[in-house]
């Protein structure tokens, strides 16, 4: 009748497949759960269902600019951030100067994208735990961000908007007004989210003290982004290794404090994201102030991008953590080698460590709280 584990010593263990088609694995992830009743004895993530050979394909494309739309498709929830890291890498390879207006516009877009990504992550997390309505409330807000993106870039999800040393299309005239409107309308929604979800006792019960990731373990696994900050480590590349123009802005790094349970539990990871949205709003406000109204959106760049011999690693803070691009150039039109360091992949690797001894329902909470995107895990 049921498959009993032959490998384990105890024959009351049960192996069950969670995914690849499961509502709360956030894509095509397959988790092999070894269960004792509902207790998790072991989790074995199986990945690769969404593998699209990003790295190999980038080397085959014969053009650095052609790779940009492919970076969108890694973490499709935060495509702007993926492009940002990549164009920064190319700009550094070519030693290009980026116009001021573009830098500001990029920061605004990237921070908006961070909010959009967190909205999706938080909403889906609530959905995993059974709260359906917050998901749709947050999606309403996300739609507003996507409207701004669509107005300027033309697309809603996979933008291909950042070009080397510029933007693919000029910004619309009312860009600043749209963003300012969004910022004012979004603040009360964070409060509503806190009331509806964050401090809901059932939600707290489901997330506090669950999947505790101590700071030391997080560092050992090379965690980054909200997952690391949730464990109480104030590490944010925008502050610790500033790129673009992030050194000009004043913002805080929210960290997990163990307000509802232990430092580094699911609730902390979740709440760091909520607080980060607030900080992103602050950055956007400052950027709106500093952004020049006039100016080019495209610097003069060589027609054919042929960087000189060399290699470099550029890391940026994507909504999920440290997104790094390693590019090795051999003077040709195509990169000799591109390697993308995907935070989701790194974070997924610690799932077995933190979900041992949890219940099935906790695995759902843990997977939701580390907020992986399978497009990025598999690339």
């Amino acid at each position: 009748m049921m498959e009993l584990v032959k490998t384990g010593a105890d024959n009351h263990e049960m192996v069950i497949n969670m995914g690849p088609q499961h509502p709360s694995t956030h894509g095509v992830l397959r988790l092999e759960l070894v269960l004792d009743g509902e207790l998790i004895k072991e989790v074995r993530p199986n990945i690769g269902y969404l593998h699209r050979c990003f790295e190999k394909y980038a080397e085959e494309l014969q053009d650095y600019a052609k790779v940009i739309p492919y970076t969108d498709r890694m973490d499709y929830v935060s495509a702007m951030n993926q492009e940002h890291g990549y164009v920064i890498a190319i700009e550094r390879l070519l030693e290009l100067e980026v116009p001021e207006r573009v830098e500001y516009a990029r920061v605004i877009l990237v921070e908006l994208q961070r909010i959009a990504s967190h909205l999706l992550g938080i909403g889906a997390f609530g959905l995993d735990l059974g709260a359906f309505s917050p998901f749709l409330y947050l999606f309403t807000e996300r739609e507003k961000i996507l409207d701004i993106f669509e107005k300027n870039s033309g697309a809603r999800l996979l933008y291909n908007y950042f070009a080397v040393a510029g933007l693919m299309r000029p910004l619309q005239d009312d860009f600043k007004g749209d963003v300012a409107d969004f910022v004012t309308s979004f603040r009360p929604k964070i409060k509503e989210l806190e009331d509806l979800l964050s401090y809901n006792r059932i939600f707290v019960k489901r997330t506090a003290n669950i999947g505790v990731l101590p700071a030391k373990v997080a560092l050992n696994y090379a965690a980054s982004g909200p997952v690391l900050r949730g464990s109480g480590v104030a590490w944010d590349l925008r502050k610790n290794d500033p790129y673009s123009i992030y050194d000009r802005f004043d913002f805080d790094i929210p960290v997990g404090t163990g307000e509802m349970g232990t430092v580094g539990d699911c609730w902390d990871r979740y709440h760091v994201r909520v607080l980060e949205m607030e900080q992103s709003l602050r950055i956007i406000e400052q950027a709106l102030e500093g952004m020049p109204d006039e100016g080019d959106v495209m610097a003069a760049i060589p027609k054919r991008i042929r960087p000189k011999d060399g290699e470099l690693y550029v890391r940026t803070e994507s909504p999920r953590g440290e997104l790094g691009y390693f590019i090795s150039s051999d003077k040709s039109a195509a990169p000799f080698r591109i390697k993308a360091r995907a935070p989701s992949f790194v974070h997924l690797s610690m799932l077995p460590a933190i979900s041992k001894g949890a219940l099935i329902a906790d695995v759902v909470a843990i997977v939701g709280s580390i907020d992986i995107v399978l497009g990025e895990v598999d690339r």
Binding site: I16, L127, L129, G130, L136, T140, L196, I202, I360, D362
Partner: protein
């Protein structure tokens, strides 16, 4: 109506008796499934189904039903065929049978047995078994997990349900739901309030809260919808079901929800009694008031469902065994003391 029925020949009377609750359940289920989606839609700033039937998609459930009837009846290859086919019918039969003792109006009750409440609880306990049966027979691990959760949950929550119902029975002094309802007619509590039991004894208010929590769990509603929690167990014991058999499960779920809400309305809110004394009273209006009270409770259940996350299975059990069961028994004793003193 009961008088008319008793004067009829046996078999037609029997069929009519059987048909009345069935009609109510079927109509209610169609409306409730549509209403559930509309409530969900409005809560989430959407509109819900809008396309079938004109005004606000009122015919959506009918269209769904027609679709489900036509669908292929898929039975997994390694399923235990007989029990797999049997479980949905048994589940529906159990919740349908329980309607026999619900006093729909002053003129109609299916069976005037003296052990009404007790019979109702006994029959609904069969629901648990059909859930296990469906989950086990599907030969799917997720289904089995859902079935086990469901069994544990329903067996546990039966205890606080029975304890709170017992509190009402103690105050009312009868197990017959019709008698309990008749006891609550009139409008003289504190001069203006209806004589509903919930206003009669302060411990019945706490009893109602506990009763409501228990029936949420008994009818698998959020935050206690663990047996079918779609984001964890996919759909729990219903995973392998499709078409008409799945529809039977849904029908039984919704019937169960109505049944327990109506039980709550009978026990605590005066059943078919009008809230305005003699105004708008009588058998027909009695039915109207009774269904209204039940549906308000159903609506609150829907509202809760679209607001809250769900508990984890061990927390669910902890709530039951650590809080509800002791509290409901303490409440029972206190209510009894109150009755003795006043």
């Amino acid at each position: 109506m009961n008088e008319t029925l008793s004067s009829m020949p046996f078999l037609p009377a029997l069929l009519l008796h059987a048909a009345i609750p069935l009609t109510i359940i079927l109509v209610y289920a169609l409306v409730a499934i549509w209403a559930e989606r509309k409530v969900a839609g409005f809560i989430q700033d959407r509109l819900g189904p809008m396309r079938v039937g004109g005004w606000h998609g009122w015919a959506q459930s009918i269209a769904d039903l027609l679709k489900l009837i036509q669908k292929e009846d898929i039975i997994p290859a390694d399923a235990s065929r007989f029990w797999f086919k049997f479980a949905p019918f048994m589940m529906f039969a159990a919740s349908y049978a329980a309607f026999a003792v619900i006093p729909f109006s002053s003129g109609y009750i299916g069976s005037m047995v003296n052990i009404g409440v007790f019979y109702l609880l006994a029959v609904t306990s069969v629901l648990t078994l059909s859930v296990i049966m469906g989950g086990w027979a599907s030969n799917n691990k997720w289904s089995l997990l859902g079935a086990m959760r469901s069994a544990a949950q329903m067996v546990s929550y039966e205890v606080p349900t029975i304890a709170t119902v017992l509190t009402v029975v103690l105050v009312a002094g009868s197990l017959n739901l019709m008698e309990i309802t008749e006891l609550q007619s009139g409008n003289d509590t504190l001069g203006f309030l209806p004589n509903w039991l919930i206003f009669q004894n302060p411990f019945l208010i706490t009893a109602f809260i506990m009763f409501f929590i228990s029936i949420l769990a008994e009818s698998h509603r959020v935050p206690f919808d663990l047996p079918e929690s779609e984001s964890e167990l996919v759909a729990g014991y219903q995973t392998e079901y499709s078409g008409m058999r799945w529809a039977m499960f849904m029908l039984a779920e919704y019937a169960d929800m109505l049944l327990l809400s109506l039980l709550g309305a009978t026990l605590f809110f005066g059943g078919w009694n009008s809230p305005f004394g003699d105004f708008l009273a009588g058998p027909f209006w009695g039915f109207f008031w009774f269904m209204l009270k039940g549906l308000v409770l159903v609506f609150v259940m829907m509202w809760i469902r679209w607001t809250l996350p769900r508990y984890r299975v061990d927390q669910l059990m902890a709530i039951c065994w650590n809080i509800l069961i002791p509290l409901s028994f303490v409440n029972l004793v206190l209510a009894a003391l109150w009755e003795m003193i006043f």
